[in-house]
Symmetry: D3
Subunit: 155 residues, 6 copies
């Protein structure tokens, strides 16, 4: 009984080390089929259960871009008009995610820096996004990059 909100949060309002963790979400066969359909990637690693059963990994894996998309979506919540997502760094697929796995996502502020050209008004914020499976293993990581307005006034 609440809803997506718009909340102003400025550069000064973030602290390195703060973190948050999402609810879990099971990566279903339907998610993988829909993602194949959205991307056109029908590789047998994702869609051919018979062939996967003959491979060392044994089961169908989710697309890397599906896990990234889910993880970024799961960490989105309140709308912050003061922050703009401008990219990601160091996306790494540490372990495969299989159909039926359940993932949760942790996002931690790992870095804050002044903007190179406009340090009075803007700052860079880095969030380390870690995707964890039901066994507690980190399966995917990425650094989410934001450009955030400074309040600039004593608050």
């Amino acid at each position: 009984m609440a809803a997506m909100k718009t909340v102003d949060r400025f550069f000064e309002d973030y602290a390195v080390g703060e973190s948050r963790t999402t609810q879990g979400r099971t990566v279903t066969e339907a998610d993988v089929v829909l993602h194949a359909g959205q991307t056109g990637d029908f590789f047998p690693h994702h869609l051919d259960a018979a062939w996967c059963a003959t491979q060392p990994f044994g089961r169908r894996m989710a697309h890397g871009t599906l896990i990234i998309s889910m993880a970024v979506g799961m960490t989105a919540g309140d709308i912050n008009p003061q922050a703009m997502s401008y990219g990601y760094d160091k996306i790494r697929f540490v372990k495969p995610v299989f159909i039926g796995d359940t993932i949760t996502v942790t996002a931690e502020v790992t870095d804050k820096a002044d903007h190179r050209k406009d340090p009075a008004r803007l700052g860079y914020l880095h969030e380390l996004v870690s995707v964890i499976n039901q066994d507690g293993e980190t399966v995917t990581v990425l650094t989410h990059l934001y450009l955030v307005n400074k309040r600039g006034e004593p608050s």
Copy 2:
């Protein structure tokens, strides 16, 4: 930069008259096509643009169940383990919603009452959910019914 949270909110924490309003969402042709696919309702009112153009309403309308589903989804947010949704009353389709319309949803606590059998521990909460289009017209209303745990302690 926030995410779906679990927040305990007890019966005593709600006040009649409090309300919240969601972000807007455009009801797209894709939403209507997907809803036809989910429900099996392929009535020409929703899916036949040529026929609709010959009718007084002139354009394809969204399914009533699509608007209900969207509205309930848009007002969901934080997870409250103390509240359970058990039904809806007085769903009324006041005006049609056409493909391309943008809706926002307001939810207002309109009623609180003790549970008939267990008034010490449970209460009924009614939320009036109103769907408003881009012209400010109310298009759909419903009353969302919750059973909510009482804190039972002086807070």
Copy 3:
């Protein structure tokens, strides 16, 4: 080897007590994933198999609005230009519907009444829609409300 038809049926043509029952339909994981995607409701009760396994209900449940949407869609068939659906009353989620359950739907005419302002030309028709699972349990009910033209001629 037949198709959606348009059939005129007037207020006088309905009798209280008449009923019809649909084919069955299995509520699949894909349906729940698509409904989450259509509504934005990604609550763990529907999408987190690992967490559900730790709860008393044990398994992922379908969204209430999915069951309503399916049930209304399953009872739609012939197009009746003389009847207009204007809302629902007393939607109640009697028991949860789990992924893998198969539902059938019964719709029974439970009430007929003259229109308050134009009794010569219009009438209200109420259909009790009951969703039954594979174990014969009623899981969801609602009353579907129609405004129906009267034939107005001796038939």
Copy 4:
């Protein structure tokens, strides 16, 4: 206010020349995107609006298999346990179907014949399925082949 029904119809109950026509359905961009996703066919004829605008046909076309699938689905209705669809003949893409076109489908019984091996109990039934666009042009045709039980009793 009716639903998918099961109706027994035997070979003797069909007459060459009988036909039925469906409601219309608009072939939307969403349908084409979903069909690309279901088939893996992302050819620019279907998905690249900019390139299509430079071609003689000027607009994005629906996949042939989408039109076949829609047409067969639109002519399905009552379930007839006495008939089994076993294939199609002479599928021809007579004219392209563009995104935004509205199609209706006519199905006409064009041929009846005894089964080669079991003429006392089975017969072949051919239905000519014609897809017509909003300008009255036939865009796709196919012959739907059924094997139908004979009643075997004087009817």
Copy 5:
């Protein structure tokens, strides 16, 4: 690390008897649910697991049009501007495809013929498309018909 390419291939470049085989693809419950949604065919043979369990075939079957759509999509690859698909012949559903089956597709050039009216510039090409399940059984066949430009020059 390659992508959909445009490759000119003329009538003279095809040889009767040449064939190619696709990767495998598992026909999932999600595919069947999406195809029901795309076509409006919600027959219990495809969507009612409880009823199917009482039938001789025991499990939910894929729609015939889903297998055709998948098979044609799986055999699409390079874009050949010199060839135009104009239809299919002799589509036959030899055996059912069940949810969970994995199919591969073989396409073999079975016939080449000069165009009736313009033999100097055009030719007909027939490809026999065979869908094979994980047990090596042929489940669906069709003949894919192409009209192909002749190079017309000694190559």
Copy 6:
């Protein structure tokens, strides 16, 4: 008339500077709606046409993760068992992609390096993936990282 193939390509077979360009694909409203549904990100920047019309950018934008997913999918083609994708670097959203834009993708080998621990058998390969809109503007870039087996034999 070709299909997804498996082609062995070793580290030695790639040359810095080689590149390939995909067909185009229009980013449709349906793609954005489906991506919102897959990720749970229903931000008004993507889904609220009325609000977007009041903003400087004026129109609904695609999700960044949708463009990444599409771009990676569009550059996938032949299966190379000798190469494994292990991540991405420097994903940057240079310009927004709006609903209706058509993108093409270029992938260029920009770097090759020996594996740190096993230089005799493995190498790193970097591909710069650039997403270009219909006006020739670069809208998104990323570096796709592969670990590739060396042939190890004089070729």
